[in-house]
Amino acid sequence: MANSTLSRKSLVLLLGLVVLLALPPVALALDEAFFISLFSRILIYALAAVSLDLILGYAGMASLGHGAFLGVGAYVVGILAFHVSEDLAIPFLPGAWTGTTSAVIAWSAAIVMSALVALAIGALSLRTSGVYFIMITLAFAQMLYFFFVSLVTYGGDDGVNLEQRNSFPLLDLGDDTRFYYVCLAVLLGFIYLCQRLVNSRFGMVMRGCKQNETRMRALGFETYKYKLACFVIAGAGAGLAGALAANQSEFVSPGLMHWTRSGEVMVMVILGGMGTLFGPVFGAIALLLMEEILAAYTQHWMIILGPILILVVLFARRGIYGFLAGDGGRDG
C-alpha cells in the first residue's frame, strides 16, 4: 500500500513538473504567449506561498501579513532601479550609491531587507500568539502599506515603473520565456531548500512548536528564538518572490502589500494543502487560474470565489495536493 501511494505522489509531482517545463513552447506554438506571463506570475506567488507555509503549516504561526515581505522585496528592486534611471543617490546610505539593475545584487538586497523587516516584525509579534498574532501581523503589514503609500518620491499610491528587468551576466531576463524558466528554477530551488530545512533538526523544532509549544518549552527549547528564525527565513523567501514579482510586471506599487494580497497567499497555502511543500504550488495554480477563468465570465467573480473559500474551509481541509496525491501527500 505504502508503495502505491508513494508512486501516486511521485506521479502527480512528475506530471506537474512536465506540464510546467513544457508550458512555454506549447503556449508559443498555440500563439498564446499570454500563458507564459500568467504562469510566471503563478510561479512567483507559489514561491511566496511555499515560504508562508513554512511558518503556517510547519511552525504553526498564523501570519496574515506575509504580503509585507513580498512588497519590501519588490520595492528594493524597484527603488534600486529607480535610482539608476534617475541617476540619483539613495538617501540615508553612505557613498552616494545610485542603485543597480544587477539581478544578483538587487535580489540579494531584496532578500536581506525583507529578512530584516521580518526580524523586526517577528520579534514584536511573537511576544503573543493565537488571535493576537494574526491581528498584529496584519496590522504591521498595513503599517508598511501606508508607509509606502506616503513615500511620494517613489510614486506613493501609484508606485514605480521599472525601465527594464534586472540583468544577469550572460542572461537576458527581458525575454518572457527565459524569465519564466528563471522563476521555475528559483521556485524548485527554494522548495529543495525547504525540503532540507523541514527535515533538519531545526525543522523538527519547528514542527514540535506547531504541535505542542508548551511541551517544547518544558523540554528546554527556547521556542521564541526558533520561531523567530523561522519567521525570518519565510520573510526572506517572500522577499525573493517580491523581487521576482517586480521584474515580472516591471512595476512596483503598495498594492503588493495590501492586506488582501496576504489573504490570497494564505488562501493558496490552505487551498493547496497546508504543511506540505508542493501543496502551496498547487494552491497558487488553482487560485490564480480560477480568478482568470471566473473573471472571463463575470466581473463579479469574487461573489463566487468567496463562498468557495468558505466551502473549502468547511468541507475540504486536506487541500488539492492531499486530494491528488492521496495519503502520500502528507510529508509530515
Binding site: S125, Y132, M135, I136, A139, M266
Partner: protein, 307 residues
C-alpha cells in the same frame, strides 16, 4: 491660536475614537466569548453605511435611515453567524480567517452589484448641519459632536447592559470563562447569536454615522477593521473598558500624529520637503508604533480580560 487648533484636533480624535469603539466593542466580545476571529466585522460596518445611505436617499430622513440600517446589520450578522460561522467556533483560527476572508469578498462584491462600484457621498442631515462655537471663537461641526455624543451614549448603555442585566452577566462570565457559562446550562448557541448580532448592530451604527463624513465605498469596512484590530491589541481582548480606552488612545495618537507631527518635524529637519516626506510617513504609522510599544510593555493589551 494653537490652543484652538489643539482643542479642535482633540474633538476630532474623540470622534474617531468613538467610531472605533463602536467597532471594537462588538469585535472584542466575539473574540473574548467565542474565541473567534471575524475579519468580516468590517462588512457589517459597510452594510450599515450603504443601507443608511440608500434609505436616507429614498426617504430624505436621516433618522429613518439609521433606524433601518441598525436592524439590517444585526440581522445580517445573526444570519451569517447561524449559517456559517457557528461551525467554526471549535476550529483553529486559520480556518476562521479563511472563511471570514471569503465572506468579505462575497459582501464586497454583493454591495458592488447592488449599489455599483462608485463611492456614494451622503449629505450631512440638515438638522445637524453647520457649526457651533464650543468656546467663543472656535466653531466645530455639529454633526461630529453628534457622533461623539452617540458613541458615548452607546458606551453608557453597553455598561448598563453588561452590569445590570442577566444577558450582560452571562456575557461577562463568558468573556472570562467560557467553560463555566456552558456548565451553567445556559443556551450557549442563543447567547452567541445575540452577542454576534449586537456586535453587528454596533458596527452598522458606526457605518451609518460615518456615511455623512466619509465616503461610503467598497472596502471601507476593511480599513476600519484593521484600525479596530489595533484598538483591541492595545486595549486587550474581551474587555469593553479596554476597547473604549484603546479606541480613544488610537484616536488621539492618529489625529495628533497627522495634525502635529509634520510641523514638529519641520523644526527638526532643515530641508522642508524631507521633513514633509518623513512627517507623512511617520504620522501614517503612528498608531502602529503605539501598538508596538504596548506589545513591548504589555503583550496581552492594557486591560486583558483573562489569561
Amino acid at each position: 491660536m494653537t490652543f484652538f487648533l489643539f482643542l479642535e484636533q482633540t474633538l476630532n480624535a474623540f470622534q474617531l475614537g468613538v467610531m472605533l469603539f463602536l467597532m471594537a466593542a462588538g469585535l472584542t466580545l466575539v473574540f473574548g466569548i467565542m474565541n473567534m476571529i471575524n475579519l468580516a466585522h468590517g462588512s457589517f460596518y459597510m452594510i450599515g453605511a450603504y443601507v443608511a445611505a440608500y434609505v436616507g436617499h429614498l426617504t430624505g430622513s436621516f433618522f429613518i435611515a439609521v433606524a433601518v440600517a441598525l436592524p439590517v446589520a444585526a440581522i445580517v450578522g445573526m444570519a451569517v453567524e447561524t449559517i456559517a460561522l457557528r461551525k467554526l467556533y471549535n476550529r483553529d483560527h486559520l480556518d476562521q480567517v479563511l472563511a471570514t476572508f471569503g465572506l468579505i469578498l462575497f459582501f464586497n462584491e454583493l454591495t458592488s452589484i447592488i449599489w455599483g462600484p462608485q463611492a456614494i457621498f451622503v449629505p450631512i442631515p440638515p438638522l445637524f448641519a453647520g457649526s457651533v462655537e464650543i468656546i467663543p471663537g472656535v466653531p466645530y461641526p455639529v454633526y461630529r459632536l453628534v457622533i461623539i455624543a452617540a458613541g458615548l451614549a452607546v458606551a453608557v448603555l453597553l455598561r448598563l447592559l453588561i452590569v445590570k442585566t442577566r444577558t450582560g452577566m452571562l456575557i461577562r462570565a463568558g468573556a472570562s470563562n467560557r467553560e463555566m457559562v456552558s456548565a451553567l446550562g445556559v443556551d450557549i448557541d442563543r447567547l452567541y447569536t445575540v452577542v454576534f448580532g449586537l456586535g453587528a448592530l454596533l458596527a452598522g451604527l458606526a457605518g451609518a454615522l460615518a456615511g455623512p463624513i466619509l465616503a461610503t465605498e467598497i472596502g471601507m469596512g476593511e480599513n476600519i477593521l484593521i484600525l479596530t484590530f489595533v484598538v483591541i491589541i492595545v486595549g486587550g481582548i474581551g474587555s469593553i473598558r479596554g476597547a473604549l480606552i484603546g479606541a480613544l488612545l488610537v484616536g488621539l495618537v492618529d489625529t495628533y500624529g497627522r495634525a502635529f507631527l509634520p510641523t514638529l518635524l519641520r523644526a527638526l529637519f532643515e530641508d522642508p520637503s524631507v521633513a514633509d516626506g518623513v512627517g507623512a510617513s511617520v504620522s501614517s504609522m503612528s498608531i502602529y508604533i503605539l501598538m508596538a510599544v504596548v506589545l513591548v510593555i504589555r503583550p496581552r493589551g492594557l486591560f486583558q480580560a483573562y489569561g
